[in-house]
Amino acid sequence: MEAITGWWDDYFFASIVVLKIFMASLLLMVIFGLIGAAAKLSNSIIAKKIANAYTIIFRGTPEILVVLLIYFGSAIALTSLFQLFDPSIKYVDVPPFWAGTFAIALIVGSYATETFRGAFLGVEPGSIEAARALGLSNLQTFVYIRIPEMWRIALPSFGNHMLSLVKDTALISIIGLNELLFVAEQATATTGKPFTMFIVVGLIYLGISTVITLFVMGLEAYGRSHLRAAK
């Protein structure tokens, strides 16, 4: 175990990177999922088709491939865009942090699209009618009735999406981001102790995902409190 001494700070900063990616991609994933769900539920045929293409593509291709394609694709796209203004630019470097965050948010967002869509449709139509009949506006009905019902329906799947995001952060090492897996590879190269170095990564991921699981369980218990059986 003494091989690991001297690497703790690298693991610590890499964990911070993982948590930052998780937070940023969580926010983006919710946004992509909500936009996707809204498009699928809209009356516009074009919006529906685009959303369908989105979920088919991102659920149907390997995640690591999506990360690579978005990293290199965005670099190429940005380079040609910048060259329009200044032809002397040879290459625009896209930060791996943002390319990776964007990629895993898009992937998990495609699953979240279906979760949010299902939750929207799962809200009792009677509750919505009752709110409208009481004179609540569309917006009030959405905020006070539909959202509270929706999150309870979406929560179990949403917990899974959060775990997917955490685990997908490991994919970003392939585009050179200094995260946990990347640190473990460096440490292995120096110390020649791959198992020790990778088991530490495993334990850190397990720690993060356990916190998320407990958080979701707590929320589920709170959300279910209104369904307690009559006593």
Binding site: E124, G126, S127, E129, A130, A131, R132, A133, L134, G135, L136, S137, Q140, Y144, I145, P148, E149, R152, G223, S225, H226, L227, R228, A229, A230, K231
Partner: protein, 246 residues
């Protein structure tokens, strides 16, 4: 005579190519108690759901308190504030306690502060005789209690008109009376009511007028006595013989 509270003039309603309402004409004055009955699929629910625009009529005119129902959200909201509705399946908000169910619209729509809204809520919970259930969730109550909460929720808005859409049809038989009692109290206090119901005892004792609908039309409209003793239309007679035979 004063202007009617509800006026429906030549109202038609289609679901796709199916005509759910055919040339409906109805006037209801303040304080009147109307019972609407008829076989299922006859358009009873659709008719009262047009009154607060949960369904949109396709032609004809509907005026509530002189205000015409059009696509104007403002008019629709104004009408809904004055027209309460009680549904067959209660439609309470499952994620809110009984008290919050009752306070929501007085706070959001009538802009009462929290303590005023709570005072209103408790007043009507007492009126439907279940103030002790205020902090429970709907799923913890019996069907009859849930429907009484739903009635109290509608009353919290002090509506001019209450619409009842088969309020006892989803209840176990032993719970029907507790709901009917509340409805009878309201009727005796002068509330303007339109009730879609098959409770003929209620119609007999409470209604000023009974309306019989079939195939989207108002077939017969009469006082309860006239309606039950001496129905004119063949379809009314058939319907009455079917529901009163046992």
């Amino acid at each position: 005579m004063t202007q009617p509270l509800i006026q429906m003039q030549n109202v038609d309603k289609f679901f796709g190519s199916f005509q759910a309402l055919k040339n409906i004409n109805l006037e209801v004055h303040k304080g009147e108690r109307i019972v609407v009955c008829g076989p299922s699929g006859s358009g009873k629910s659709t008719m009262i759901r047009c009154i607060n625009r949960l369904e949109k009529h396709n032609s004809g005119k509907i005026l509530i308190g002189g205000r015409e129902l059009t696509d104007s959200e403002k008019d629709i909201d104004a009408v809904r504030r004055e027209v309460g509705m009680v549904f067959q399946s209660f439609n309470l908000f499952p994620h809110m306690t009984v008290l919050r169910n009752l306070m929501l619209a007085p706070q959001l729509v009538r802009k009462n502060n929290k303590s005023k809204a709570k005072e209103i809520a408790m007043k009507y919970l007492e009126r439907v005789k279940i103030p002790d259930q205020a902090n429970k969730y709907p799923s913890q109550l019996s069907g009859g209690q849930q429907q009484r909460v739903a009635i109290a929720r509608a009353l919290c808005m002090s509506p001019e008109i209450l619409l009842f859409d088969e309020p006892t049809s989803a209840l176990d038989p032993e719970m029907i009376n507790e709901v009917l009692e509340v409805m009878e109290d309201l009727a005796n206090e002068g509330m303007t009511m339109i009730c879609v119901t098959h409770e003929m005892g209620f119609a007999r004792s409470v209604a000023d007028r009974v309306i019989f609908m079939d195939l989207g039309e108002i077939v017969e409209e009469a006082s309860p006595q006239e309606f039950f003793e001496n129905p004119k239309n063949e379809r009314t007679k058939l319907f009455l013989s079917q529901i009163l035979s046992h």
